[in-house]
Symmetry: C2
Subunit: 424 residues, 2 copies
């Protein structure tokens, strides 16, 4: 029996026991386990696809819709892709044992601040079964035991994937309990998981607002919310129009359904007459619905036709995750900063400008995980940032802000060495 289907507290305690051994596992052993997982996924692909077909059939019966079915679907190519991602994580540098800081105190004590695993990380996720393996790979590489709790709609797929990962990890020398799955997708299990102080060190929810709210109401263990992104692009007076158009289109259109896509476009009013018609033509030409404030509406309406609508106050706070963008005019970079302070979610914010003073004001004044100058918000991503992979994006300020990679799955401890030092 590799995957725990026992009750939540037992699963968590077993994970805690595993975590104490995992924290001391050598990099080579952890990397070997990841390779074993990748290999097992490839070798046992049929088993995975058979389990997935059970979920797909249930999904079709429940008429969950083509988009959700596609998120749920596994095939040969996708399973190979998951295995490839595991090997990529294995190739990353091990964060454990890294000396973050160190010095000798005036009294001769040597202090080193050393990165160590958090312990037990619980990942709560919806729909896409590949998260089962992606999250497990990141946690194991960073020396953490992982407890997975997926949605019931992907229950068979998740169970097959977690079982294969757990068995492969144990066969490669990692402790039993390193990977476990909490069966049962009910809110009771979630509440139980979120209150295991002393065994669960962190919960990371990956899902929509309802999951976040459910956790906020009950969690007593630390949570990092991989939260929503209400991202802005501000096109400053000093912007080069061709560059501005390219960045806005990329930030909105390249992949509208993700948290680092732009949701609001702010344009300096001195630029509006020339730029708004041009940009609205480009956006609506790409199928984007533009919800314009009063000042920009007059410039946009003639160009965008039915794809231009008046914005309401609500638009400034809406994460569309769809080909829709709010458009407003501002009188200065300060006004843009002010708008973002009021409506932004602290995820990713961009300015397009040729003006160094405006760029610096924006960087200093905007309080967000990632602040861009002349680049698309779409780069906020652990892979893009050179972290190799990420388990989500944090808009919190404590511990992890922005992409949550291997280092962010760790804490640290101070190792202090003396030769009989006492305090006077």
């Amino acid at each position: 029996m590799a995957v725990a289907v026992s009750r939540v507290p037992e699963t968590c305690r077993a994970a805690k026991r595993a975590a104490r051994l995992l924290a001391r596992a050598d990099t080579a052993v952890k990397d070997g386990a990841l390779e074993a997982i990748a290999l097992a996924l490839e070798e046992r692909c049929e088993e995975i696809l058979a389990a997935n077909e059970l979920d797909m059939a249930a999904g079709r019966r429940a008429e969950i819709g083509e988009a959700l079915l596609d998120r749920l679907r596994l095939d040969d190519g996708r399973v190979r892709g998951i295995a490839r991602a595991v090997r990529q994580v294995a190739a990353l540098a091990d964060p454990v044992g890294e000396v973050i800081d160190g010095h000798r105190l005036p009294n001769g004590l040597d202090v080193r601040k050393v990165r160590v695993p958090l312990g037990v990380v619980a990942v709560v996720y919806e729909a896409r079964p590949n998260v089962t393996i992606d999250a497990a790979a990141l946690c194991l590489k960073s020396g953490n035991a992982i407890i997975l709790r997926g949605s019931s709609s992907a229950g068979h797929s998740n169970l097959a994937l977690a079982r294969i990962a757990s068995e492969a990890a144990v066969s490669a020398g990692l402790p039993e309990g390193s990977v476990s799955l909490v069966a049962g997708g009910g809110r009771e299990e979630l509440a139980e998981l979120a209150t295991q102080r002393g065994s669960v060190d962190l919960i990371i929810p990956r899902g929509g607002e309802s999951l976040k709210e459910a956790l906020q109401a009950v969690a007593t263990v630390p949570v990092i919310y991989a939260a929503s992104g209400n991202c802005h692009v501000y096109v400053d007076r000093g912007a080069e129009l061709e560059m501005a158009e390219r960045i806005v289109l990329n930030a909105k259109v390249q992949r509208p359904g993700v948290c680092n896509a732009a949701e609001t476009l702010l344009v300096h009013e001195q630029l509006a007459e020339e730029f708004v018609p041009r940009l609205v033509a480009a956006l609506t030409g790409a199928g984007v619905l533009v919800r314009a404030d009063a000042a920009s509406l007059v410039l946009a309406a003639g160009v965008g036709g039915a794809l231009v609508e008046p914005a309401t106050e609500e638009d400034w706070d809406t994460e569309y995750l769809a080909p829709v963008i709010a458009l407003g005019l501002v009188g200065s970079v300060e006004e843009a900063i002010e708008h973002i302070a009021r409506h932004g979610s602290g995820h990713s914010e961009a300015i397009v400008t040729g003006d160094a003073v405006a760029a610096r004001a924006f960087q200093l004044g905007v309080d967000a995980a990632c602040v861009y100058v002349n680049a698309s918000t779409r780069f906020t991503d652990g892979g893009e940032f050179g972290m190799g992979a990420e388990i989500g994006n944090s808009t919190q300020k404590l511990h992890a802000r922005g992409p949550i990679g291997l280092r962010e799955l760790c804490t640290f401890k101070y190792l202090v060495e003396g030769d009989g030092h006492v305090r006077t």
Copy 2:
């Protein structure tokens, strides 16, 4: 009117507005404000002492006891000491703007990870009025607005100190709302403060377990608990006895009422016959009550007399904060690590040994903020660690672990610069 005595949400919103300006305040301006505060404390000492006398009189009437009265008491020397501490914080390096990490991505984007203030930090504290100023100095230096909420027993003192700090800060060019005090020490204000999402970025409670529990029940804003320390000293088989005795005595006796004092002593059983009587003589000679497990009791009883008692299971989990120590024998360093994993609070743990293998096993195996080899646990302290000062000690694993200094009062943001970069 410098100190807000308005309702909690208004105070928090004003602090948030101040925080946005404070985040961009130059180091020279912040240091100037700290000097102005130090000076004002010295110049307005009489006003402070008059306010303090009101609290002291009320404390005497309420018969709160000599220990609490002493914690509450201010005099000329203590006020000068508080001013001196403010100047020490001013002399520390400014954490804001520090580049933590930075590199050029393969696509040419430049990414810098830069330290920035958290925003609004609320500090909830009991009894000692000096915390009002200590905490304010650390928050202002790190570019944060501070909201103070002290206990009602020190209400007059805290109000006088906060008013002086706020007025001095504003006179030196910091924004109104940089320092504010929530009047009223009731649980309602605490609950209100702990739920101001969007304006309060962090709450740090400094106080006993009841304060911690009250916060845990209601807080929706992030909290870092400056928690209790159930610290251990393990004397290994390979220890030099003279060094072991010195360290144990220091860890227990030098200042028993603090969180980094030792509460349990574990001794390797091969050492017990020689070491336990010697150590128990020293401890009881220093007035320490020893609560010994069955195996050590026979060795300790003849030496310590009435100051030796049998330990119960409860002793292993008790933070005495008093001249009492639990004593147990273990068969190996692994057994010591196991005991600490079961009963420790993750604060500070020490091994005394001459054996390099045991020392390494202890450092790797113990999961705590600070792990000591051949040194007293008493060194866990921001000042001792070279951070200059601390606002508390965290036993959490996320964000801050160990001393909470200026850097730990900050978060970071990624500043990304390109020249029209879009994601493909």
